[in-house]
Subunit: 245 residues, 4 copies
């Protein structure tokens, strides 16, 4: 019998960590991050709870680096198959007047959203296809979107362009791969995530639960993963009860 | 300690029945339908599984009838509070050239979608507000939408008008009531439901799971109900993996 | 040779008047309003400029009244055919907490948006069909929408429901009637109209052109009317350059 | 008094040529194309009709090449200011299974849609800003979108990603620059353009006007350009009367 693992690209203190912990209840979890400091504590936390985790240092925007990361997975989890992959990479998205943006700013924004995702989905989709139909749940590719996936706000053009692109490609992949058994879902995370780094940052007048708990996103991601194939969700939004939208 | 119940308006062999069965694992369930034949078997099925169910004959489009139905709930489940309400009423939606539609056709289409929902939400929202914050999960108002919630197809104008209206009002209610603790969520069910009555109706070339399993919708509804309030989903789509969209 | 006229339902000091004046440069114009005071000055203004206008007192939400209005057109403009019809009727849309709305409030909101439009389109579409292909431009049914056509804001639920319904039905009619030569277009007017009644009402910090000039809407409506049938626009938005959106 | 010119990037036999001819009725027109063969005949045609046109060979996706093209404009039309710019560049968009796409395919798709547009808008927006408020109409940046701007179809992922990105960035620019007087508008061209190269390609059962006449697009583009700033359209769709959508 095949063993299955989950993969998180874009591991940090928020959605990445929480999703890793949630999926680790069911699968060994592989964590991709550019710096070991982004995954080391999470690996320990998962192991401490009796789960299995592998951290791999890689730059998803770099196709060669990503290729090597998957080879490392083959060595660390020999014979395992991919059950679910979360694309949670975030390019920077500083607000900036359009005419002050440099070519480097754009490339960074695109590389960190859509280009890295192209690499990631080209590596993961073939693996997900081979997991069908043996996997315990439909093999799943999850994509973290943002408010900017639906709305191009002033001075957020580069970020919006990347997030719109991600949504468009995600839709296209859903249409192409769902009939082959792979679930591609896009989540529009519309709010500020409740992570230690943003503790000083007051939103929604500081009311309780005014920031999104990463564990709540992770739970929704898990529920997307276990949906029956006759009832796939392609897109949903996630926001705090007090968020203006 | 308060007891809580769930309410399903629009009970039939598909989504209504499956949602009743799913929520009956956690709550007593009240079923609204215009004819006892729509809920009698479901009540028995729930009771057979050790759950509790109450069927009430009512026409949600008729405000007086609906008022009496809630009085009946008070008698049957004294002291119980509303944890979740599903609006699953469907007006008829025969395809028809626009110029052949009669005033009666329109009224029926509107009554069975938006007008009945206005009645239903005016009765349930005050109850859901009083369930906050004691209820085990955020009090929830669920709305079943359809492909026609997003797209007005030729010769489906009356149906689309009602479904668009339902979506618009649902959005408005989410913005008004979420900050008060009530979760209002809208599901776009885009596909044919797998119910006995439609067994003869072939879709998606008859492939396995080409129709939506009602149980899968019910499970997604349950997961919406138990979402943490820092991460509410307002809208999601549900469709078979092979559905064209 | 047939003569053609234009028809404006919902005549007031803003979009209705301006559109009447614009279309009167090409056609006799018929104005529908519930009160003669809404059209009398416009009729005079058009006649003063050398155009032809007919004001008719009618309630578009009342099918019988509307039927008589079209009979009056037959008498006043015998043998004339309908070139373009604008549905510019606005139900009231006071902001109000949902639970304070009465059944009357809803009926008024629906009657003044979607129900009146059903009446209006059932009367005008058969006329527009007979105008094809002789009319100088594709026979056109224009619909005035609003911000609430796309977004259900808190406490605007009744208005949003009506406007969503209007948009959904408009789409359906476009898909059904465009192939028969009739252009159905929906305009999302997103801003405050610059009319005398709202002179006291400051928007966009009172900057010049911060309110929408009715003449500018009318010009866009005219351009929709004269579009070639190989390049119909089904929907567009209209807003001031300084409007937040 | 300043003189003004219009600029078309992405000149071919369809929309580019027709828009050049339309705007040449009011302004000298500059045409950008990668090959002189794409603009030479159009320049002659405009001159033959008494207009003024300048063709410039440039690759909009190459920032250096584009920079030089604007220097050439300064030499050819000294002292002239930019009244309107159309971004009509189309990357290739062959349908292709996602897993067969190469990194080169993606780069080509992105370069030819979003990256070239970033270059183009960074060059044109500063010029358009200086044209306000002297220009006869609000300085305008027009963007040609496609069906894929709204929908990511199977096996069109790279194209959809670029077109979604273009739409998102266009929205952001509209929000940033409209308050400064520059009109940014996005047109979703949903259909096949009627150009000689596609004469063999039957759509909509070959009915008359089943393909979009480029002149009709050009007229709509002109009307967007001359809109009053109190009533800007940010987005509209354009499709044949018989197009399924």
């Amino acid at each position: 019998m095949s063993k299955f693992y989950a993969l998180i690209a874009g591991t940090g203190a928020g959605t990445g960590r929480a999703t890793a912990l949630r999926f680790a209840q069911a699968y060994p979890v592989v964590l991709f991050a550019r710096n070991p400091s982004s995954y080391e504590d999470i690996v320990k936390e998962i192991e401490h709870k009796g789960g299995q985790a592998v951290g791999i240092t890689t730059d998803v925007a770099d196709a060669q680096s990503l290729r090597r990361a998957f080879q490392t997975i083959d060595q660390k989890l020999p014979g395992s198959k991919l059950a679910a992959a979360l694309y949670n990479v975030n390019g920077g998205f500083a607000k900036k007047p359009f005419l002050e943006l440099t070519a480097q700013d754009f490339d960074a924004a695109f590389d960190g959203t859509i280009k890295a995702f192209v690499n990631f989905s080209q590596e993961t989709l073939p693996l997900l296809l081979t997991s069908f139909p043996d996997a315990p749940h439909p093999p799943t590719l999850l994509i973290t979107g943002a408010t900017a996936s639906l709305k191009g706000s002033a001075q957020f053009g580069a970020f919006a362009a990347g997030k719109f692109a991600l949504r468009g490609l995600g839709q296209s992949l859903a249409r192409e791969f769902a009939p082959q058994g792979v679930h591609v879902a896009h989540a529009i995370v519309d709010g500020v995530i409740d992570i230690p780094r943003l503790d000083h940052f007051t939103v929604n007048n500081g009311v309780e639960d005014g920031k999104i708990r990463p564990e709540a996103i992770a739970e929704t991601y898990w529920q997307l993963h276990v949906q029956h194939r006759s009832a796939f969700t392609q897109e949903l939004d996630i926001r705090p009860y007090v968020e203006k939208f």
